[in-house]
Symmetry: C2
Subunit: 455 residues, 2 copies
């Protein structure tokens, strides 16, 4: 089919408090209050700045398991949906994307909370679907072991389908609320889902009417085979990583092909990697700033953090200058792809443990480093080469974020790469995604009637 | 022990949109927008009015199961915690009490969401603990049948204990966040719970530090034997109903005795019934207003609603003038006490189905009807006689609520029954409840050390 005219570059801002993995040093940054991760005013101010710069959305990551070695931001932070609801009523245009795990939540509760956020925000809710990588999470939810990989992804797919089904419970005009005719509800337009699957059985209907967006926007991350397959099936937008343009183009091409193979229009699957631009007056100064930031990261913290994809395996017990130890089994259920990738690379390169840790430290290097013009050029180059449809900016310090919005964005805007104002009242509209038709409205009248709650 | 000086009357406002059970007519009230139940601005405005009147808290009720016959407000409403977070950032002083069921939520998620609300609001979060009365709720959560009564209440008790344990994960000074000393966390003050019980196994710790209130305030409702026992064990405040002063005094006396028997100070268990004052210039006018409101309620809706405590049994199939039918089994798991009470009364009185419905309609009569002086006198009389420690006002229409705040409260304030301003920054403080000591801080140093996550 002929490709639609290319849309403009989409912009998200990942809001963190004191910094996630690989950002241990950020809590020392005087621009960031040390209690930012639990300060709602900090998040509201950051979201308002992103909105002033016409960003499409803010993005809140999450986890539910900590040890004393967890990144500082993970140790104590606000629950994403609770936080986003507070942000919703102090912003007007910006989308609000929150992470909720399908492994340790009920689809009825997830569907309801996201639909509530969509109503509260007037159509700006998004759901970042995750399956929880840390095996230890199971211990906080009355389980002996984490769900195995296949189960996690099967459960995620079914969970999202159930939520989407519940979001269709009410047709758009099911609540006439006509005082004259004493008609609050038209019961023929309220539908039960009657879902029975491998992981969930949910009768419905949802106790909340159709939302301003029709359905909240679905984000998804996951680089594994199962993760890519899930994203191609359900995601409106895919959050990923991008280290080189070649990798980015390959990833986007593959995801679009997978989506098309599932009968979807690839235009409606946006690839939106997280990027960390480092900007200064000159390219040299920006590179020096990156070197300083990487230098501030502690080798010991990186060694501890290396254990995470291996189920928090303790690598400090090994000789740093011996070959990378074989630690396969413990990681089978947790961040499997990441752990396997690290091990494969170490074997291929014949690296010691020290070299692996150093490589992990170096992987923090951003491809978007330089003067405002250099960074704008590079982002445009990746965008036009098909490396991404949008970017999630992971810059947390207000001054550094302002450098991007005040110095890089004007260049991209003048070139028409980025739009100059919001085009819609909803996140879905600003991302250029279609409103999903309600399954009962779309159905033939007889089928809709059969699914209705009244004969 | 000698009784502490009596506190002032506590004030809560139950915020509804278009009206709950027995309030079907309220959606026709032109003071209330027909979509109030999903309009965050409606709720924020009501909370701000209650705050201007120095109310201690707003209160959001909930359920997770609907049929086309459900009360209009139930059909489509916002999820309580999502809503309260939005209210939190548009108010400064008022407490925020949200309903969450222990039957269909995980304690880790509940503890985290409430602690997040407590941080976002600066110490104003409350949890109304319920177990879900509608048996149909089970069908929305992959269960064939609702938990039986004993399981529901056993689960509720354990659920609250786990949440309270998780809220103690961090001691108050566990996060020094000292940049000079590079000390973000003091790991000796972060504790895992390692809970293993009949219903839940939760390792912890919670990924959120101790909240401004120490622990969110626990509300509980439930008139059954199991409900009273749970309230006496866990509740800081008990939401109940009050039809006569004698019943109210008996209920409060019993609950205080139960709490004392469990080793608690009864001063710290507040009895706070919902009341619905109807106020006019004169007593006659107020009574006429109540009659008109009750007359507007439909017999047919009351007949349909009668089925709710019997598991939505359809009573329209019976002869209205035959004796009240025996419908025990279907209601065994659902609102059991309420269904049993109705049946017992019908048998004692020898009532027909029509008489039972009429009685249910009449039970909507408020004991607090009259001029501002009459209503103030009656509230003071009940308070001083030990009928309650506070009241949850269930008046939803803004004009009617303003009659209470502008005409009744000044009388009670002048008499010293109600305080004239907030006395604390937290809900717990305004309710006069002590801050629970962290179990690890309270423990002897060796025990705290044994529970610490680091040796």
């Amino acid at each position: 089919m002929p490709e639609s005219p290319r849309r403009t570059l989409k912009l998200g801002a990942v809001l963190l408090g004191v910094g996630g993995p690989g950002q241990h040093h950020t809590w020392l940054d005087p621009q960031i209050p040390t209690d930012a991760s639990v300060d709602v005013r900090w998040y509201i101010a950051r979201a308002q700045e992103a909105e002033a710069a016409k960003f499409d959305h803010v993005f809140i990551v999450d986890s539910q398991f900590i040890t004393p070695d967890s990144p500082n931001h993970y140790l104590s932070r606000l629950e994403p949906l609770t936080l986003l609801s507070a942000i919703a009523v102090h912003t007007e245009h910006i989308g609000l994307v929150g992470t909720l795990t399908t492994s340790y939540n009920e689809p009825f509760n997830v569907a309801r909370r996201l639909a509530s956020l969509d109503h509260i925000s007037g159509g700006r809710a998004g759901w970042n679907v995750v399956t929880s990588g840390d095996a230890g999470t199971a211990g906080n939810y009355s389980r002996d072991a984490h769900f195995d990989y296949a189960t996690r992804y099967g459960r995620a797919l079914e969970h999202v389908r159930v939520a989407q089904g519940l979001w269709d419970s009410y047709e758009a005009d099911a609540l006439p609320r006509d005082r004259e005719r004493r008609e609050f509800l038209d019961p023929t337009k309220l539908h039960a889902l009657h879902h029975t699957g491998e992981h969930f059985r949910v009768v419905g209907p949802l106790n909340l009417e159709r939302t301003p967006q029709g359905q909240p926007v679905i984000f998804q991350a996951g680089d594994s085979e199962e993760g890519r397959d899930l994203g191609a099936a359900i995601a409106d937008a895919i959050f990923t990583h991008a280290q080189t343009l070649e990798q980015a183009v390959a990833f986007r091409t593959e995801l679009r092909e997978r989506a098309a193979a599932k009968g979807r229009d690839p235009q409606n699957v946006l690839i939106v990697p997280g990027i960390h631009p480092i900007i200064a007056e000159t390219d040299e100064e920006a590179r020096a700033r990156q070197d300083a930031a990487l230098g501030a990261r502690s080798f010991e913290k990186a060694l501890a953090e290396l254990g995470r994809p291996f189920g928090w395996h303790d690598f400090s017990q090994y000789d740093l200058d011996a070959p990378f130890p074989s630690v396969a089994a413990a990681g089978a259920l947790s961040f499997r792809t990441q752990a396997e990738g690290i091990t494969r690379l170490a074997i291929e390169k014949g690296w010691t443990l020290r070299q692996v840790v150093q490589h992990q430290l170096d992987a923090g290097r951003s491809p978007f480093v330089g003067s405002p013009l250099t960074v704008a050029d590079e982002i445009q180059r990746w965008f036009e080469a098909g490396g991404f449809d949008g970017v999630n900016i992971t810059v947390n310090a207000p001054g550094d974020f302002a450098r991007f919005t005040d110095q890089v964005l004007p260049i991209l805007r003048e070139r028409g790469v980025v739009r100059s104002d919001y085009e819609s009242t909803t996140l879905r509209g600003n991302l250029g995604l279609p409103v999903p038709e309600n399954r009962y409205t779309a159905a033939r009248p007889e089928e809709a009637k059969a699914a209705s709650l009244v004969p």
